[in-house]
């Protein structure tokens, strides 16, 4: 029988874990939250360009009456995919990028709770995103709008595979978000540094936490809805089939129960970012930290009770309409609190108008406009005039582009030196800001007019005979909006140029370029693989600020004085560095497992055998994952790193 080998192979004959610290393998197999965060960011920016191109094409088509840049079918696919790409493949993952990179740093942890799961989330997201976009080349993309109302989304009315791609793609991307949300919740709740009470967490971390809870509860709803739809389309079910007695409004309710929290999922990380940026550049703590945190959580809660305001014209009946109308107004209150608090943070401060700060202030302004127009929709009867017109488009683009995207750009400028060690060029940054700020107002401002002048959304053409004349000429404002869109595009190009420029030309930034306040600035830039040599002890909100500044008695009374620099703080921390740092080691399996999912999806669309192949890959990945040695081989150990810390493998995740 079995020949006895004297030293049993503990790794079961399975592969040696990858240990590369450089080269492509170090990225593909990484479980380091920072690398994963950077990859999330890069991919999200790529999809931003994709979605942006789609937006520009839409604007080109609408620049003139009865235009023929895009055909009706292509146009429908374009606006469907523009929304899908921007929401699911750009804003959400970009927020995930910041969350991934910064969350462990902000709470003083060495990684997220489940590093391999983290990598899995990213790869699933990437493959899911690619999967959705391959529909362009495989018979056309989804053409039912991102809301995908039934019964227009059923096989009878949308017979191409586009909707199938959309449904399955969102399922896949949803898995990524769900895994990620569990991961980050556990990380925040379990892995905070000593002394980091919940109410000492940075606001960004707080907002990300709220978002993860929203995701955790919202995604299952859309998952169910998507299952119902895909079963209707692929397996003959009749959940939304009117002839069989179904009520099409079921889909609308399911979609918006997810869809409205989704709005907050998109915007809250941005709230968090500017709540970090504003205090830093105002040299002042956030005004009413607790109010901001609680209003964020309140938005998260109340956000669940307002979904039907997307359906005021759908004929739900007056009682529902009235109830949701009032609930929607309520949500304006915590949002208003935030705007007030941000403004009051600046009040009495010492403002430093860096690009990051400009983006943050721009965000407040634009988001306020979006918020105010949002209140006008809350009045249900008024909304029956406004809904499904460009007025709504104006509103949510002010919220999402003016709010979420501007906030995320503030994040870029603020954290770039932390992430890459070099600060983005400020001059280009200001060009970037002004181009985008002006572009946004010129693109989406006119849409208020267009909507109130009766131009509905989702129309491939608007006719010359309905343009009117004078100030509110649809033709004129449509043209302005198109020019505005290209202005935004120019702004984004400046940003890309800035990234390249910084990468090639810029000098290494100082350790603490902004005189920042939170933990992530208390380590090297870019941080070492293990983040902190010693897990910091936290004594206060804005820990770093309190380590740098002390109250000093002067002749003019008690004054805050900078008594130590960030370099000194860092040196003190490094001096008490841990001798042994446990770090999870890279793994092959997340990418393998993730790779199977789109294959399953292709299989469901084209050939079930392929689905089984995909399932086999998923199974293989899961097996490899489970079987990955819990105790690493001696050969798997990394040699001591340059900083003389032994990095050991730890069976985490």
């Amino acid at each position: 029988m079995a020949l006895t080998s004297p030293a049993p192979s503990r790794s079961l004959g399975a592969f040696r874990r990858p240990v590369e610290a450089t080269g492509w393998k170090s990225w593909v197999f990484t479980v380091d939250h920072k690398r994963i965060g950077i990859m999330y960011g890069a991919v999200a920016l790529f999809f931003f360009l994709v979605g942006g191109t789609e937006a520009l094409l839409i604007r080109l088509q609408l620049a003139a009456p009865d235009n023929t840049v895009l055909g009706a079918g292509l146009y429908n696919e374009m606006f469907t995919m523009h929304a899908t790409t921007m929401v699911f493949l750009f804003v959400m993952p970009l927020a995930a990028a910041f969350a991934n990179y910064l969350l462990p740093l902000q709470i003083g942890a060495r990684d997220v709770a489940f590093p391999r799961l983290n990598a899995l989330s990213f790869w699933i997201f990437l493959f899911g995103g690619i999967f959705i976009n391959t529909s362009w080349f495989l018979g056309g993309a989804a053409d039912g709008g991102w809301f995908m109302y039934s019964p227009n989304s059923s096989g009878l009315f949308s017979p191409s595979h586009g909707v199938d791609f959309w449904v399955l793609g969102l399922q896949i991307v949803g898995i990524a978000s769900l895994l990620s949300s569990i991961n980050l919740i556990v990380t925040v709740l379990n892995m905070r540094a000593p002394g980091m009470k919940l109410m000492r967490m940075p606001v960004f971390t707080w907002m990300v936490l709220v978002v993860q809870f929203l995701l955790l509860f919202a995604l299952p709803v859309i998952t169910v809805a998507l299952f119902l739809l895909s079963f209707q389309r692929n397996f003959g079910a009749s959940f939304f089939d009117v002839d069989k007695g179904a009520d099409p409004l079921l889909w609308q309710h399911l979609f918006w129960i997810f869809g409205h929290p989704e709005v907050y999922i998109i915007i809250l990380p941005s709230f968090g970012i500017i709540s970090e940026v504003l205090p830093t550049f105002s040299r002042k703590p956030l005004f009413g930290y607790k109010f901001v945190v609680f209003s964020g959580a309140t938005i998260g809660f109340v956000g669940w009770g307002v979904w039907a305001h997307h359906m005021f014209a759908s004929g739900m009946g007056p009682v529902s309409v009235a109830a949701f109308s009032v609930a929607t107004m309520l949500i304006a209150i915590p949002t208003g609190v935030k705007i007030c608090n941000w403004t009051l943070t600046m009040w009495g401060g010492k403002l430093w108008f860096t690009s990051a700060m400009l983006f943050a202030i721009g965000m407040i302004v634009l988001f306020t406009i979006g918020g105010l127009s949002g209140v006008t929709h809350a009045v249900a009867t008024a909304d029956t005039q406004q809904t499904d017109t460009y007025h709504i488009v104006a509103h949510f683009h002010y919220v999402i582009v003016g709010g979420a995207v501007m906030g995320l750009f503030a994040g870029f400028y603020y954290w770039w030196p932390k992430i890459f060690g070099k600060a983005l060029n400020e001059r280009l940054g200001k060009w970037n800001f002004w181009l985008m700020f002006i572009g946004i107002n010129f693109t989406f401002g006119p849409m208020h007019v267009l909507g109130m002048q009766g131009q509905p959304r989702r129309m491939v053409v608007w006719p010359d005979k309905l343009t009117g004349e004078g100030y509110f000429d649809l033709a004129f404002w449509n043209e302005v909006a198109t020019w505005g869109a290209f202005t935004i595009a120019t702004g984004v190009s400046v940003f890309l140029w800035n990234v390249w420029y910084t990468h090639r030309k810029a000098e290494v930034a100082p350790l603490d370029p902004w005189d920042a306040r939170t933990l992530e600035w208390m380590t090297a830039s870019p941080p070492k693989a293990h983040n902190f040599d010693a897990i910091p002890n936290v004594h206060a909100l804005d820990e770093l600020f309190h380590r740098k500044y002390e109250e000093v008695d002067t002749d003019k009374g008690v004054r805050l004085k900078k008594t130590s620099t960030a370099e000194e703080v860092l040196a003190a921390e490094e001096a008490r560095g841990d001798a042994h740092i446990h770090l999870p080691s890279p793994s092959y399996w997340p990418i393998v497992l993730a790779f199977g999912l789109p294959i399953i999806a292709y299989g469901i669309i084209f050939n079930l055998i392929m689905a089984f192949v995909g399932a086999a890959i998923v199974l293989l990945g899961a097996f490899g994952w489970v079987l990955e040695p819990s105790v690493a081989e001696p050969g798997d150990y990394e040699s001591p790193s340059d900083d003389h810390h032994m990095k050991e493998l730890d069976p985490v995740g």
Binding site: A72, F147, Y149, P151, N152, G155, D247, P248, R283, K284, P285, L286, F287, Y289, A313, S314, P318, S325, V326, A332, G336, L344, M346, G348, G349, K350, L351, W352, F353, I361, T368, I369, L372, V375, A378, V379, A380, T381, A382, D383, Q385, Q386, W434, I438, V449, Q453, G454, Q455, R458, V460, K465, L466, E469, Y471, D473, L474, F545, Y549, L560, K562
Partner: protein, 409 residues
């Protein structure tokens, strides 16, 4: 300073909102130009809302702008690390709540007010990809005019002016949304459900609208209009709709067109009173060819000003502009003449007839309005089209059909 442009832009934008409320009057679908009771009610709530929102916005921007100017870095000391002011925050929380509450009361009461129904004049509205069908309820009394028989029309909804009209809206396929901005807000047409919407037009005139729920390929070309007529004109319109069929005179092009119509069109499109050779009425059976099961009734096609989902004009652009700008007193007279409007009494051809549009349409409908009619792609619908397929008509066929249709007035 860099501060100012941002502040200016913000102010300009807020001002834009105000301007938009005040001076809009031009676009036909302008929501700020209510022409009826219901729309006016909405407008009455919407305008103050915009004003207040604008003012609040201005206050916020002014505050931000001032803070940016006042507290810019002039080399001052590191400010006091104050963590907030709970009293101030409570005030700032309560204040918007009060403002919102002030709006919530009228907002809610209006929801219920607009939902009340009356049943004087009932018109059933049915959405279908991509046009609207209207049928006037038999036995209704619309502005004093009795509807003795059901009247079926498409695209253009003719209602009596200054009379409450109740629309009962449903759909045959996907969700549509009926919207005449100057008369009322929108209401979705959901298959299997029946929603009601009140309409009221103060004065005779034409009020255009658009399907506003995304309904597939040609969503953008699903339009509609409401035409309000005074009582006499509306009576005339009803009488005309119910007038007996007049066959074209023997030997004319139109007579040829009648048989061509019976051969090519009558399978889907109903012309009331048309009979076959043996004198039996020709009944269209569109449900055997069209997915949603109906096609526009063409009995009085030439009384309408547009066709094919009210997308393509039956009258020329100049006539259209004149008609739309017609004062309400004379509007009805002009409108009732259909394509013969503005035509001198002695003319033999209608001056306003947009023959080109109709010909193009008959030549290749899907080319003008994208529809799912490709026979290779009808697997999902068992061969039923959604919209009018290309019948490959010859010029001669089109010629006689146009001649025939021109008499459907």
């Amino acid at each position: 300073m860099l501060v100012k442009p941002s502040r200016r832009a913000a102010a300009a934008l807020a001002g834009l909102g105000l301007l938009l409320v005040g001076c809009a009057k031009d676009a036909p679908q302008d929501t700020f130009r209510p022409a009826g009771e219901n729309a006016r009610d909405i407008d009455g709530l919407q305008r103050p809302l915009f004003y207040v929102a604008g003012v609040v916005g201005l206050i916020v921007f002014a505050f931000i702008g001032y803070a940016m100017w006042k507290f810019r870095d002039r080399g001052q000391e590191i400010p006091e690390q104050s963590h907030g002011n709970p009293k101030l925050e409570i005030v700032l929380t309560v204040l918007p709540a009060v403002i919102l509450a002030a709006f919530a009361v009228p907002a809610v009461s209006q929801v219920f007010a607009l939902d009340k129904s009356d049943n004087e004049c009932v018109i059933n509205v049915t959405g279908q990809q991509w046009w609207w069908e209207y049928d006037y309820e038999k036995g209704s009394t619309c502005g004093g005019v009795e509807i003795p028989e059901s009247i079926v029309t498409a695209g253009e909804l003719v209602i009596p002016a200054d009379t409450p009209v109740l629309l009962r809206i449903t759909s045959r396929d996907v969700i549509h949304s009926f919207w005449i901005p100057r008369l009322n807000g929108k209401r979705d047409a959901v298959p299997g459900r029946l929603h009601t919407l009140r309409m009221h037009a103060d004065e005779p005139g034409i009020y255009v609208g658009q399907c506003t729920e995304f309904c597939g390929l040609s969503h953008a070309r699903m339009r509609q209009a409401a035409v309000a007529l005074d009582t006499a004109d509306f009576q005339a319109w009803v009488d005309n709709q119910l007038a007996p069929y007049q066959a074209p005179a023997e030997g004319t092009l139109a007579a040829e067109g009648e048989s061509e119509y019976a051969a090519q069109c009558s399978r889907c499109h109903q012309v009331n009173g048309l009979t076959d050779d043996s004198g039996n009425p020709v009944l269209a059976e569109p449900d055997q060819s069209v997915l949603a099961g109906a096609a526009p009734n063409l009995t009085n096609l030439m009384t309408r000003t547009a066709f094919a989902g009210w997308t393509f004009d039956l009258i020329s652009d100049e006539c259209r502009d004149r008609l739309w700008n017609e004062p309400s007193e004379t509007f009805g007279d002009v409108y009732l003449q259909g394509v013969w409007m503005y035509t001198p009494a002695d003319a033999t051809t209608p001056a306003c007839f947009n023959e080109l549009n109709l010909r193009e349409w008959l030549r290749n409908p899907p080319a003008m309005k994208p529809m799912y009619t490709d026979p290779d792609k009808l697997e999902a619908t068992d061969g039923l089209t959604r919209g009018m397929p290309n019948l490959n008509l010859t010029d001669e066929q089109i010629e006689v059909l146009v001649a025939y249709l021109l008499e459907r007035k």
